[in-house]
Amino acid sequence: MDRRVSAYIIRFVPLLLLFILLALPLLLLLLQWLTGTDSTVLFSFIDRGTLWLIGRSLWLSFIVALLATCIGTACGFLLYKFNFPFNKFYRLALLLPLLISPYIFAVAWKDGLFWFFGNTAAVYSEAGVVMVHAFVYFPLAMLITGSALSQIHSGYEEAGLMVVSFRKMFVKIIFPLIRPALTTSFVLILIFSLSDFSVPAFFGVRTFTTEIFTQFSALYDLPMAIGQSVLLLLVCLLLMLTEHRYLSDAPFFSVSTKGSISKKYDVEKRQILWHGIFWLLLIVALLIPVSILIIQSLGGKTLFFSQAWELVWPAAVQSIKLATIGALLITALGLWTAYEKERRSHRLPNALLLLTFIVPSTVLGIALIRYYNFPVLNFIYGTAVILLIAYTAKFGFIASRITGNSIKQIPVSLGEAASVMGISSQKIFLKIHLPLMLPSLFTTFVLSFILCLGELGATVMVYPPGMELMPVKTFTISANAPQALTSSMTLINLGVTTVLLLLFFIIGKYVFKKYRYA
């Protein structure tokens, strides 16, 4: 009886919290919109122009997602499946573009092109948006497919290699096995690209998201903006559902024993070509923007590094603390929702997180303000708690997804074997599933940390007055500050994140020495 009560608590208390804290604000906003808006105006925005714009935005993001997934998968494949010198260095360095905000990336690239060619007309186009997004988001695909690749049981590949060529084995065995990871990264990148406003706005490309933004910030037409957001939401939802359908019949591989090490290949020939390709990618996606930032920060009439440091430092400390707590929360939440979904067929928590993930940041911000801004709730709205709520709403789904993939890798029999022995489900979770998921939980933590540290869209809407946060400060100071100061701040921002990332990797290495089985 006791056990049942505690099982109920474990299952329903978090769900209730999740619903009340994250999902209800959005649902209420939606309800207000539906009931508060004149029904003739409600769907007036759906006309040919809007549909055409959605189609166009989807098409753009589709190309971005395709390109980024291809580049990312190629990198993931080469870096996680082959042994060659500096392999680990590339793995880390190629993650860094993810730390640069797409807007900064766009500005730096445009300046760079101007210096090199004296003409920037080419970037002020759809092609510019596609290029910037593809280079900013490909590391995500690399991370996701890379970790999937490194979990494939060597037996599957070796068995394939006995009968067919490497190329055929790749196409027929590895590729289908990592299909879930491929579609996951494709859809995630598609949604990221679809919801980014900064790059298309900067390049003067009209997308559905810039349209929503215009409604919000030029016309202050809230019902219209929310209406359009709902439409965007439906489109994203449709995409996720399609992915889900597609995945449900995908051959999920379960590794019979996790102790087996994934297969790695040696590269003998054409090493130089490989290094060449990686360096090219590094130059385009990282070195060009970073060196432009460096040139700009040194090119001012005075040096601004110390001033920039003084401005950023207090904000950075605060941001790091918040991102750490945020990432811990998100990882825990992701673990719980993924576990509920994969092992208890309880999909609701995951679905709620999906909803909060695909809502545009501004809408999320407004929903949170309307819901939490009451004098009695000041301990939430007036403090950093509101930011933690915003972070979990924005990134909980990604965490749930990554963790979910790793739960799928653990054979069900490992849990059943313990369960017939009379071991409680809590203990099974703590002693068997949790240790086996540790590496992927760590990945989730690091990724959520980076995402929280850089989150701007919702943060700027809800951060408590007087609080200083690194992304907000970099952004607000950047307006009208000398270019050199702006670039210095961006570089410091990037540097701080990189150092933390390195630190995490070192800690990770130390921690996982204890878990050498994987």
Binding site: A218, Q318, I369, N378, P465, G466, A481, Q483
Partner: protein, 331 residues
Amino acid sequence: MKYIFVSLILVFPACNPSAEEVTVYTSVDQIFSEPVLKDFERETGIKVKAVYDTEETKSTGVMNRLIAEKDNPQCDVFWSGDPIRNGVLQSKGITEPYQSEQTKQIPEYFKEPDNQWIGFSARARVLIYNKNLIAPDSLPESIFDFTRPRFKGKFAVANPLFGTTTFHMAAIFTALGDEKAKAWMNALKENGVVIAASNGDVKKRVMNGELAFGLTDTDDAFEAKKESDEVDYIFLDQQERGIGTLIMPNAVSLIKNAPHDENGKKLINYLLSRETEAKLAVSCAQMPLIKGTEIPGVPSLDNIKAMKIDYKQTSEKLEGIQPWLKAWIEE
């Protein structure tokens, strides 16, 4: 678990609602507004809790926040870079009139009739140009010169849906009448005007030498001159019969049902002082509105021919032309 609690305590500063503090939301660039607010904090001992936003993000953050917080305002004072946003808030019933000795010093012209917003330190629209790309004597003297063929594809204006550019266009529409203004804007388009993301972007592109000249605000132009020797700026339409250039004051509003009403008023009085205007004049070349504040190197309102506009009427015009402006960009 223990560590989580410890870090939670570290992250959340103790909040004490009764403390002497004031909350201000501002869309004025942080680099200029923060020093003023810090000075206020130092001089009065009232802690300033600020939410910054920028014109680059079109003030989406603070504006939508103020609107969403209407029923339980967190903010006491809204300090905007131009009066339009205050006008939007006023129409939504978020601002409150405020009178004091200090507000009386500001000329009526730069105040909302009921003092729903009060103007101070003004910026003007200017033409910023790159000396390497265009000689000062061949520059346009009026915005109407922009349509000349010799300037084709060489100049920029910021997206007219946002920021001070919207206001500028609304003023031009008011001054010329819709038909003439539309014809002029269409002619701009035909002459290859580059639509930049923001005034800051106009400034940057001219500084980089991507474009010969563009329309921006005095503060951007002033900043650009500090950064680079290759740029300079001029006021347009200063001829005898010219329409003059647009002057845009900062605008401050008291928020209705502000939680720290009294401190909010103190901050407003502080902002409307000679000292603040002088500081803003030095830091970003904003022109003082209180008579008799002279700062060397900063243009004075007395020497500039200003466009004759009614701010309220212009704000109303703005709402009317926005759909047309939106279509103009998207064409």
